[in-house]
Symmetry: C2
Subunit: 180 residues, 2 copies
């Protein structure tokens, strides 16, 4: 993925070919690339999506039984955000800029976000949370993560992604109450 | 759009060319098609997105001042769903099936949903609703619309899309309260 971000950064997403990414990533062939990724865009997302969904779902399954829905979601988010150590901040900022600069990548990013909401909602349903509460709690949690990520990816930032995500979830929770 | 749904239905999305859609839509050229739509997928979404966003935003702007955020969203949804008269139900079911059968179309549909949330949130912010309440209320409203649409597009259904959407919004509102 780093090789692809470097290339998209240097010469733009449209001008970068799959062969160039494969070459830069250690001399893979185009054929090998397409065994791992269905299309060029996916190189930025595939690994992250699977790992993020798994981290969230595992921690949600492991959260203590008496926790409220948003406490359960918070446990999932803590597990997810703990993997975003501060040495990843600079790369996250570059990744975010590359995605923001291209419509196809923005579209794929939105699709991945929806996938993360679904995975979270499914993990909550497995704990017995009914619909539409499970989906709504999942939407709040993933929404908090993305809001926090945008702030965290700012190189001038000081707070950890975990702190920022907890803050954002608290704000969304408060907003949910006012809608009642 | 109807010509495209017919073709996707008959022979599949992948096997359908832009030239075939243009031809079926009254003898347009491929070049004319691409003046209206940036890509093949967009033929199913372009008209709807613009119209739906406008209907929602106009009704949100016109809602009475003392209304609560979700009453304002509800006014927007009433205006939007009023345009889905029951003679559109059968076509909606076909459109939904065509989109569900193809990954590229599902991805574009998710992107359009996100666009509708943004347009709704923006209309709410123009009324002075702060973030993240505006985005959350928009998410609830658009979520209600999509949940209701899925039920409405069932040919065996009896309720109007307006009734189903009001019901879904009420359920999401109740769920939001339990998360507080």
């Amino acid at each position: 993925m780093r090789a692809a971000v470097d290339l998209f950064d240097e010469q733009g997403y449209d001008a970068t070919t799959v062969s160039q990414i494969a070459e830069r990533a250690g001399g893979l062939t185009k054929m090998t690339f397409f065994r791992h990724f269905p299309d060029k865009r996916e190189v930025l997302f595939a690994a992250g999506q699977e790992e993020h969904s798994r981290l969230l779902a595992d921690a949600i399954a492991a959260a203590p039984a008496p926790a409220t829905p948003l406490e359960v979601v918070g446990a999932g988010l803590d597990a997810l955000t703990a993997t975003f150590t501060d040495d990843r901040r600079a790369f996250a900022a570059r990744l975010r800029a590359v995605i923001a600069a291209n419509g196809e990548l923005r579209e794929r990013a939105v699709f991945k976000r929806a996938g993360l909401v679904s995975a979270t909602a499914e993990a909550l349903e497995k704990r017995g949370l009914p619909e539409p509460t499970a989906s709504l709690a999942a939407e709040l949690g993933v929404g908090a993560f993305y809001r926090a990520f945008d702030r965290w990816a700012d190189p001038a930032g000081r707070q950890t992604l975990t702190e920022l995500t907890r803050e954002a979830l608290g704000q969304l929770r408060a907003a949910a109450v006012t809608l009642g």
